[in-house]
């Protein structure tokens, strides 16, 4: 199922987006470039501030950890040197989690991470913050096999998929930049090098656009309903541009 995205729907923020996928729904808002506090000011770079708010309750160390991961990843794609001595403030509010998401043996913060990354990118696009490239992210889960035969990894699984495939042996989050570079990898559980390689290849296939021609990964079975995230992002931006430019064709 393709993710859903709404851009620039909060009118007080400089940029905003809501991203809904697999039962996860996250609202993001960006303010920036704005004035930075003196102690956070960097003479040649922009400061990035990320707040992750959970669906219920107040933030815990889990959210702080996610914030750090997001901070490091987003910092590498924002052109911080083109907006020096400013602050870019990103707030991500988790609105809903999939039902039964907590009973699976998948680390909940890891399952949330790709959705947060995707939302953050959409909000940055909506706020027109200068970026060096785009970013797409996906979760891969590898179920434990009862026999000696390895089981195919699950790509962007829903909560139901995970529940059915229990026990899950390892989960991996991958984020790729627009030019097929691996930006972030967080893995959890027990896995071999080969398994990681396979998971990474699968993620690359779905995150990045086709190189053109016959790829090496042709044999890999990608779930038919899974859309290419790079193409999806392009369609989202195309819709944004169409809305902005509709005055040109209006009667």
């Amino acid at each position: 199922m393709a993710p859903e995205a709404h851009l620039s729907h909060l009118h007080r923020a400089d940029g905003s987006a809501t991203y809904t996928h697999n039962g996860y729904s996250v609202i993001g808002a960006v303010n920036g470039p704005i004035e930075v506090q003196r102690r956070d000011e960097m003479p040649e770079e922009a400061t990035l501030e990320i707040h992750v708010r959970p669906a219920a309750g107040i933030g815990s160390p889990k959210e702080r950890h996610l914030e750090t991961l997001l901070h490091n990843t987003l910092r590498s794609i924002i052109l911080t040197r083109s907006i020096p001595r400013t602050l870019v403030q990103i707030t991500l509010q988790v609105r809903s989690l999939p039902e039964g998401g907590t009973v699976t043996d998948v680390n909940t913060s890891l399952a949330l991470l790709p959705h947060l990354l995707q939302t953050a990118l959409l909000t940055l696009l909506s706020a027109s913050i200068p970026l060096s490239t785009t970013l797409t992210s996906v979760l891969v889960a590898i179920p434990a096999s009862k026999s000696s035969k390895p089981i195919a990894p699950l790509l962007a699984p829903t909560a139901d998929d995970l529940l059915r495939a229990r026990p899950i042996r390892s989960t991996h989050v991958f984020a790729f930049s627009g030019n097929r570079k691996l930006l972030l990898n967080e893995s959890h559980g027990v896995f071999t090098y080969e398994e990681w390689d396979e998971a990474c290849e699968m993620a690359e296939e779905v995150c990045c656009k086709d190189k053109g021609g016959v790829g090496l990964n042709e044999g890999v079975e990608v779930d038919g309903s899974q859309v290419n995230l790079d193409e999806w992002l392009r369609s989202v931006v195309k819709r944004k541009v169409e809305v902005e430019q509709r005055w040109r064709i209006a009667p």
């Binding site: 027109s128 200068p130 060096s132 785009t134 030019n179 541009v241 902005e244 040109r248 009667p251």
Partner: protein
């Protein structure tokens, strides 16, 4: 002006065939907002939007209509005076950004004794002379070569309306922007407007009713992206209401 239908994502490099073809070979290629040059010869976008090229000026830029206003040299903005310092007014171009400085003497005919007294929250129509990438932004209300104000200066009375950055650009672009609403209204109604690139529209129509009618009409054109016909209809509706 040629508008291609190339939608760009940050990081997309622009093929040489998409760049403008100048008739005059001597003119250098100018890159506008949203594009950056990576030596030796890659041109990539940094913002999601539409690629626009102008072969006459040999320029290319990305058109987008979202996000916060970033000052650029030469832009006309409506700034809000916050405090008055020793030699300049501290103004805000957009909220929550560092103060932009407007010298007390940067008004037409201002001397040490006859400088304008502006209280906090008063509005000034001014030009950006330094976008303030390496320091704070600097504003002026006079043309430095002639010393004349050329329409810039404090805005008295009237009301301020928020419009999108794209709408402000359209209004300032004249015919190319395709906004005929103000001309249509001015046939029957007398009013004054000032358009700031920072997404601020100032209107003074003499009475509150007229001011609100003009301001709201512009906002409606902005939000509903009305074309020429739609604007004509709106003009009639507004004039009937007055």
């Amino acid at each position: 002006m040629a508008t291609s239908s190339t939608v760009l994502l940050p990081g997309d490099s622009i093929s040489p065939s998409a760049l403008p073809k100048p008739q005059n070979r001597k003119k250098h290629l100018t890159l506008g907002p949203g594009l950056r040059h990576m030596p030796p010869n890659t041109i990539a976008s940094t913002i999601a939007g539409l690629l626009v090229t102008d072969s006459k000026k040999n320029a290319a830029w990305v058109e987008y209509n979202s996000g916060r206003y970033l000052p650029a040299a030469g832009d006309l903005v409506i700034a809000t005076v916050n405090t008055s310092g020793g030699e300049n007014f501290n103004c805000l171009i957009t909220p929550n950004t560092p103060y932009a400085s407007l010298p007390h003497l940067a008004f037409e005919g201002a001397t040490r004794k006859t400088r304008p007294q502006l209280s906090s929250n008063s509005l000034v129509y001014c030009r950006v002379i330094n976008p303030g990438k390496d320091s704070f932004p600097e504003l002026t209300c006079v043309d430095p070569s002639t010393g004349k104000s050329e329409g810039l200066g404090p805005l008295k009375g009237g009301m301020v309306f928020k419009i999108s950055l794209g709408m402000a650009r359209r209004l300032l672009a004249g015919k190319k922007g395709g906004v005929t609403l103000l001309e249509g209204l001015s046939e029957k109604l007398g009013f004054e407007v000032a358009i700031g690139r920072n997404g601020v529209l100032w209107v003074d129509g003499g009475s509150v009713k007229a001011t609100l009618a003009v301001g709201r009409a512009v906002q409606e054109v902005d939000e509903q992206a009305l074309g020429e016909k739609g604007q004509k209809k709106l003009v009639e509706k507004v004039l009937r209401g007055l």
